[in-house]
Amino acid sequence: MTMKILNSLKRQSLNTKLALALLLLGFLAIFAGDPYGNAKTEIDAKELALIVDKQVDHIAAEELADWIIQNRADYRLVDLRTEEEFTTYHIPTAENIPLAGLIDGGLQRNEKIVLYSEGGIHSAQAWFLLKAKGYKAVYMLFGGLEEWKDRVLFPAVPENPTPEQLAAFAKIKEVSKYFGGTPQSGAGSVSAQPKTEMPKLSLPAGGAAPKPQAKKEKRGLLI
């Protein structure tokens, strides 16, 4: 019986065979299920751990500032905070994609992406999320917006500065002014009150709360 069918199949033209194959594949498709959500991306835990260990997934605040000043366009800066926080202040050139909308946020797997949040925790979580989804070049702003304020907007000279530190401060002072920040001048001048008014955005700035300068010890907790 089967031989008979096979023999009669052999005598058919190639077109008929192809048509039958198509109908068979189409019929099987009814039972094969949904095509969405089957793509697996493997997480190479070892590779990720190495990246974390070597800290090559970080961008320092000063480095990011340089990129913005140079007007570099080979990366996308993503602000993970809420829309409200974003409207109040965000790093220039950033786009707002809250954590929940990250995967559908229109980011491409082959783009260089720099993430930041208020501290470092949300951006670290988003970093893992994107890495697990197969995004290649994901970086975090080291220390998040806190670090951006400390290092770029309101930089201060360390106590008893070395000549190198003074030279670095002279440079960052200019960078700070570019971003509308206020360098905390005068090392050791205890009387000078830290003036940390957030720079005004072209967007209607909400209550830009002055940030107390005594948050340095928190850095150890940040990723």
Binding site: L22, D34, A39, T41, N110
Partner: protein
């Protein structure tokens, strides 16, 4: 390895242009091999004497559909990352009619016009010239038609979403439709050939 390759970062934007050149040459080559460099062959479609266009195009569609479907089911391709042209129903119907009108009058569609031009046919070159003139004209009058151009937006919809139908069932129905269309085309060709001989 996961597809789409570009979205997974196998190559960057610059390399993608090189890939596009090769895909384009392949596309043109097979169009030419199907005989689509000739306006006579293409126009015969509209007189039902030669249904090659329907057969080739529908074959390409169902091959791609079945391939994409099974690759996605097996997890090789992430279908959610494949770009879909958003649907704007009214302007796309109008655009389709304009394209169809040009196709009947001139005997080429944009792709086959390029194939014809690259094989050295004069009508192909004239057609490609008209193509660029049309693009320029559209660009110039764009602000007049802009409102219509963006009307009736439906987003990136697929037939299974629109018809609330399981994806696999739609694949099957399109396969049946294709085989039916092939059989009807062969039958029609024979009928027309007989009619011609009878004359």
């Amino acid at each position: 390895m996961s597809a789409p390759f570009f979205k997974y970062g196998l190559f960057g934007s610059e390399a993608s242009l090189i890939v596009a050149v090769f895909i384009g040459i392949g596309f043109g080559f097979f169009l030419e091999r199907a005989g689509f460099g000739s306006a006579r062959k293409l126009a015969a479609q509209f007189y039902f004497t030669d249904m090659t266009v329907l057969k080739v195009m529908f074959t390409a569609i169902v091959t791609a559909m079945v391939g994409v479907y099974y690759l996605s089911v097996f997890g090789v391709l992430d279908l959610s990352l494949v770009y879909l042209t958003p649907t704007y129903l009214a302007p796309q119907i109008a655009g389709g009619l304009i394209l169809g009108f040009g196709f009947v009058v001139g005997g080429y569609c944009p792709g086959t016009a390029c194939v014809s031009a690259s094989t050295g046919r004069y009508d192909g070159w004239i057609y490609v010239g008209g193509l660029f003139a049309g693009i320029l004209f559209f660009g110039e009058v764009f602000h007049w038609v802009e409102k219509f151009y963006a009307s009736t937006p439906m987003g990136q919809v697929t037939l299974p979403q629109l018809l609330h139908m399981p994806y696999g069932l739609l694949v099957f129905l399109v396969c049946v439709m294709a085989v039916g269309a092939f059989a009807a085309a062969e039958w029609g060709e024979k009928k027309m050939a007989a009619k011609k001989e009878g004359k």
